[in-house]
């Protein structure tokens, strides 16, 4: 059963399905960004697939790749009890052209999720009824889950108090610096092979 979804997608859309895999048992299809909405509509409408529940939508940023932002949609079908992961890639190095068709009219549950991806990763959804920030405040600049956004950057709405203003030494800890955390976590070390 598990290959049925990917098989149907490949048959129906041919080259618009850029790649498919089923690593760890999760069926995954990468689709062309222009076909995002068409493929979504098909997954919802096809009686054999019947994906009626939007599970999750998120962005994964790969700043060294073009297109840079991967948008990952997880779907589930209550009736057929199967899942699929649909991915697409948008945006160049500066996130220009990071736009996708909104799927809110297919799955209303994606309303907040698309807002979240816009807020956190900076992908704009065409046709979304209400594309506002959701987790961050309206004055916030940038998109925190882009890897180029510094983890130690702060954007306080009310400026931090200086020692002169306070008239007393403020022994507050700075937000953690870029060198803190796990410096040798990424890079430097050889990677483990793709498959175990």
């Amino acid at each position: 059963m598990s290959q049925l979804v990917l098989e149907k997608l490949r048959q129906r859309f041919g080259t618009a399905i850029l790649e498919t895999h089923a690593h760890f048992g999760d069926d995954t299809a990468v689709v062309d960004a222009g076909m995002w909405r068409t493929v979504g509509q098909f997954l919802c409408d096809d009686p054999d697939l019947d994906f009626d529940m939007p599970i999750d939508l998120c962005g994964v940023d790969y700043p060294e790749r073009v297109p840079r932002m991967e948008v990952v949609l997880h779907l589930y079908s209550i009736a057929k009890a199967h899942r699929v992961r649909l991915k697409t890639r948008v945006g160049d190095a500066d996130m220009a052209g990071a736009e996708l068709d909104s799927l809110v009219s297919i799955w209303p549950g994606l309303d907040w999720l698309e807002r979240e991806v816009f807020d956190m990763s900076g992908v704009r959804f065409r046709g979304h009824p209400d594309l506002r920030r959701i987790l961050m405040y309206p004055e916030f600049e940038g998109h925190p889950l882009q890897r180029t956004y510094p983890a130690d950057k702060t954007q306080p709405l009310v400026a931090y108090r200086s020692e002169a203003e306070a008239g007393t030494p403020l022994e507050k800890l700075e937000p953690f610096g870029p060198d803190e955390g796990m410096p040798f976590g990424r890079g430097g070390l050889p990677r483990v092979a793709e498959d175990i």
Partner: protein, 404 residues
């Protein structure tokens, strides 16, 4: 003296007809301090409701990209802080799926027992808080007393009442204490007695029932399309429980039912949660029967599991292994995985991307109550202002989880 109210009907006073705007929260006791609802009212009827979240956003996903895989555990504790054990287990299972690991049977039973205890505490909190918000303070105290008993057991096992950080990749931090089974067997009947007593106080109370019945109802199709899972979805009659539909751990070997509602209203959600507490008790009893007292708890995989403390102090190999696991982190093979478990509120999913290093490339959580809260405005519109409190309470929005 003649009655003063006779002439009121013929009064000249005209109230303005334009809609009124009202801010509810974030510092409103029923909004859990973390949600703001901007309402457009016509009289007392809600015309539009804009639910705004994010007041508890702590950059969980960004923080995870800075530490090791194991350092994510304390963060997931703080997502759903009412049932942190379920988050711990869910995250551990996700990383184990990525590593291709399967923990020994004893650990699987242990995780189930702790997880179901956490589920009981989650449901007790939700139902108790909901009753309190409607003015029924005594049942809340009863439920919290029962929750305290659950937390006593968890404290005995993990050392912490709330933020256990007890999961590990490939096992648990500590084996079950010798008293674990005894504590559960002694505690569960007391917990259930309290639940029953609290339930009797509520379910024969006309005021309480009137405020829940047919309030905040949602249809099956709507709930599915909104991505609702867990008790809120089951209240509409869809028996989707991941423990049954896609069993993980040993859920396929235990006997339990999935309580479902019929109307999808607030009362159904309340009753489904009470039903699940009883099912959790059933599961725990079966787990205690079958969990072996002896045997390994953690995987025997030196790539991810910390060596025995005694060996760390006495041998150089174990010292190095310990150092590398702590400082560089367990090396998780590259790839992407989506792993899902049944959390207190529904499908708790983790989408992990690894680049093969000791640090996660991306940790994405799928918090169940994010989408449930996303559907809130839909079920509020057209209802009365006073329906917000029971409806919102019955969704069990947990700020830490919803706001990431």
């Amino acid at each position: 003296m003649e009655a003063l109210d006779l002439e009121l009907d013929a009064g000249e006073l005209e109230l303005p007809a334009e809609p009124m705007h009202l801010n509810m929260g974030p510092s409103h006791p029923a909004m859990h301090g973390t949600v703001r609802i901007v309402l457009e009212l016509s009289g007392e009827t809600i015309v539009k409701a804009d639910v705004q979240i994010g007041y508890l956003h702590r950059g969980f996903e960004k923080m995870c990209e800075r530490g090791t895989w194991a350092q994510v555990f304390p963060y997931v504790d703080r997502l759903n802080y009412v049932s942190p054990m379920l988050n711990n287990v869910g995250y551990a299972l996700a990383v184990e799926k990525l590593c291709g690991l399967s923990v020994p049977d004893r650990c699987q039973w242990y995780r189930m027992a702790l997880g179901e205890l956490a589920r009981i505490s989650d449901h007790l909190t939700c139902d108790g808080a909901m009753a309190m918000e409607l003015g029924a303070f005594t049942p809340f105290l009863w439920f919290v007393k029962a929750r305290e008993m659950v937390w006593d057991i968890l404290e005995e096992e993990t050392g912490a009442r709330l933020t256990h950080s007890f999961g590990r990749i490939g096992g648990m931090a500590e084996p079950p204490t010798p008293d674990f089974k005894g504590l559960c067997r002694a505690g569960l009947p007391k917990i259930l007695d309290l639940v029953e007593e609290g339930e009797r106080m509520l379910l024969r109370n006309r005021i309480f029932l009137d405020r829940l019945e047919n309030v905040g109802a949602i249809s099956r199709a709507d709930a599915i399309a909104l991505g609702w899972t867990g008790p809120c979805l089951r209240a509409t009659g869809v028996p989707y429980d991941i423990r049954k539909a896609h069993p993980y751990l040993k859920y396929d070997e235990v006997d339990f039912d999935v309580p479902v509602g019929t109307k999808g209203d607030t009362l159904d959600r309340f009753l489904v949660r009470l039903g699940e507490i009883r099912q959790s008790k059933r599961i725990i009893e079966q787990v205690l029967e079958r969990m072996p007292d002896e045997g390994p708890l953690n995987c025997d995989d030196p790539r991810v599991v910390l060596p025995d403390k005694m060996a760390v102090y006495t041998t150089i190999e174990a010292t190095i292994q310990h150092f590398k696991l702590i400082m560089e982190g367990a090396r998780v093979p590259s790839g992407e995985v989506y792993s899902y478990t049944e959390g207190g509120n529904g499908e708790l999913g983790y989408y992990l991307v690894s680049d093969g290093s000791g640090t996660p490339y991306r940790v994405r959580i799928r918090p169940p109550c994010f989408q449930i809260t996303g559907g809130l405005s839909k079920i509020l519109e057209g209802r009365m202002l006073s329906d917000i409190v029971p409806t919102f309470g019955s969704l069990n929005m947990i700020g830490g989880e919803c706001d990431h």
